[in-house]
Subunit: 429 residues, 2 copies
């Protein structure tokens, strides 16, 4: 019976064959302990010298780290094993002896590991991280599916950008110029007018020469957009959404969180509703804490961390100054110098994971914004059309996948939260 390590629980007491790689091994002279992985999990194979033919024993002695082999054995329950099972090995069939695998159990520098990212992802910690990333991706799709959102894929190649082209990647599109999208939001607004509630989930590109632990050049973003949804409902959906993601990971990824030694105390508390403070209150709070910041300025990472410290859940900062936010955000009718927006700040210093707002639905105000921001009416005629032909109140937000993975897994630098990171000086592998 050819199975995977993830399936061993269904085969206790039975002989099975698994295609594997040797992760590590140790030997007592009479017993060889083979740490095996097959991508679906890790298991220990126990080979007792007197219970296998001599050539099998000798073959096992030749195995090096990352050698590939089919292993045959009987599945045993074992409470001490992290997976709960081990394998009493009866036979092995070596596919390849790996020579000089570069990533040894000893310590390596980050640049070296990143140069070997194609192999590094086999390591236990990276495997756990990217498995949790996968579960977060699935939780995102599940949430929007259950809430009857339609997935709409906005284009990556776009003729221009409403927020300037300085941090965009440029390419020739036959005879035209095109740029890689930094956000599909404007397209998603068009889609919301056609499908009501929509979401996108795809790669996004930012050609910024920044080297912080929160920035990737290429990253994945979720962008929901909803017709007939106002600022308040928008926040409620975000609360449910983030709660769903965190609770799904806590339910499905206990082993992976343990591998990462993630303290889940604060994660367990992530349940809607989330605390909210206004931008005004946040400024006051920071000033009280001695930060050098004035009303009208945006928050830096240390500011966000200082605000997050005051709460043990993600916190919404609402109603930022109109001046420092995007042109499409709807001003508060009672106080037009601030907009009906919110950023969601993760606890524990992981920073902003969501930015969202109600959008301007008034065609006259949107035209004014186009003039103020010197946006091309020609390039965005289609966007202006949305306010001419049945404008409605609508809202949306964007969640950065890698920052969310970094927070939930407790990973300092986002570069480990994506399989093949693209950084300022890294385009390989």
């Amino acid at each position: 019976m050819k199975i995977t390590i993830a399936e061993v629980g269904r085969y206790v007491g039975q002989e099975v064959t698994i295609g594997t790689w040797l992760y590590n091994k140790r030997s007592s002279g009479k017993i060889q302990f083979l740490q095996l992985r097959d991508g679906t999990g890790f298991i220990q194979g126990v080979m007792v010298k007197k219970e296998v033919p001599p050539e099998v024993w000798e073959a096992a002695k030749e195995l090096t780290q990352e050698s590939s082999l089919y292993v045959t054995g009987v599945v045993r329950e074992d409470e001490r094993a992290p997976s709960g099972y081990e394998l009493s090995v009866t036979d092995i069939d070596v596919i390849q002896i790996a020579e000089n695998y570069p990533i040894t159990p000893k310590e390596h520098g980050t640049e070296f590991l990143m140069d070997h990212r194609h192999l590094w992802i086999r390591s236990k910690r990276q495997h756990a991280l990217l498995t949790i990333r996968h579960h977060i991706i699935q939780a995102i799709h599940d949430f929007f599916n259950k809430e009857n959102f339609v997935k709409v894929d906005p284009p990556i190649l776009t003729p221009t950008s409403a927020e300037g082209t300085t941090s965009l990647f440029h390419t020739k599109y036959f005879d035209e110029d095109a740029y890689l999208s930094q956000s599909g939001q404007l397209y998603m607004e068009a889609a919301a007018m056609a499908f009501g509630k929509v979401y996108s989930f795809g790669p996004t590109f930012r050609a910024e020469k920044s080297k912080t632990r929160r920035h990737l050049i290429e990253f994945w973003m979720v962008e929901p957009e909803m017709a007939f949804v106002d600022h308040e409902e928008n926040l409620q959906i975000q609360e449910r959404f983030v709660t769903h993601i965190v609770q799904t990971v806590l339910k499905n990824c206990r082993q992976e969180l343990a591998v990462l030694e993630r303290d889940t105390t604060l994660l367990e508390k992530v349940e809607a509703p989330f605390p909210r403070i206004t931008y005004d209150q946040a400024i006051q709070l920071l000033q009280d804490k001695g930060h050098d910041i004035k009303w009208g300025e945006d928050f830096g990472a240390p500011d966000e961390t200082a605000i997050a410290e005051e709460f043990d859940k993600p916190v919404f900062i609402t109603r930022y100054p109109t001046e420092i936010k995007a042109f499409y955000m709807k001003p508060d009718p009672d106080r037009p110098e601030v907009v009906l927006c919110a950023d969601l700040i993760a606890p524990e210093g992981y920073g902003e994971i969501i930015g969202g707002s109600q959008r301007i639905d008034d065609p006259v105000l949107l035209e004014q914004r186009f003039e103020q921001h010197q946006l091309s009416r020609e390039a965005y005629q289609w966007y202006l059309d949305l306010r001419q032909y049945g404008t409605v109140p609508h809202s949306g937000f964007g969640l950065g996948l890698e920052r969310t993975v970094a927070w939930i897994t407790g990973t300092k630098h986002v570069r480990e939260t994506i399989p093949f990171p693209r950084l300022l000086n890294r385009l390989y592998p």
Copy 2:
């Protein structure tokens, strides 16, 4: 109670309010029939003159196509309605009267409609098409989730391409050159060695000056890759996969298929296993049919259609000549002039929807291929590493989302199967 059209079935006999757009209307003088849409569905609102205040009756008379309004009414079951329900309107609250909506119920040319794609997606047919696209996307995620695949996102920005850069979009990546990925497959092979069974699902770019009805410049592709899976198992997974997609659409999208007037006779028959013919047999078949084709040549669209005509299910064409297929495909050990590959051809002239193969696992043969194809060892050292450190038999395939949507929805041209198509002369909206 504020609800959506999709939810009306739960509110029969109750008064509800729905945010909507007017799709169309007609009047008998005493009754106005308002065709309403809200993105989640379509419903008819029936307003009887003597049952509403005069100002409500007059307001309804002002409504133009794509005007936005909140409509309040009592939900009634109605067997004649496509949705099964209609609304006895008691009140309306107009948000905006739309003036001169450009897409009228009369016929428009394709270029005009594509220029107004941001509005065209509101039309019934486009709404149905893209709703089915959404259900196909969800079916794809569901399938791989149930089969315990891990979603891995390969990078879009890559330093070079193993298959040449002539049809790639180029961009400057700070001081380096980068290209938009045409396939994440090689990265997915690295991922399969770390996670066993993986899939990617993301946008792909092909800078080809082709204008056929099967080509998009930017399209979405699913690329699964599986360790310890051979050619035969690869085909079985593809059969299960495509069956799952088609049967899910037949189950969940009856209304949308009806809007599209899709004849589902052949779709109903899509159940694994699928017929298989070898490339040799396909050449013989085409020659018998009078096609001008010789062994060693690739099939064109008319050839694929002629082959598909012989079957009422998707058909696998297996074992193509090594010469005309990608460098990484594993030769048939019994007959190295052909490779262990298969293309899956959809019925009814929709062409190739899947290409897949077992991959070369022998490091020596792969090195030979690199020399024959003059590939850069330096750029692909990481890929060669995969055969040095525990190489294993492995297979994978790629499915084109838009071609699959075109087939299942019975749409001739792929340009309508993606929300915002990118074509040779189209980068707007």
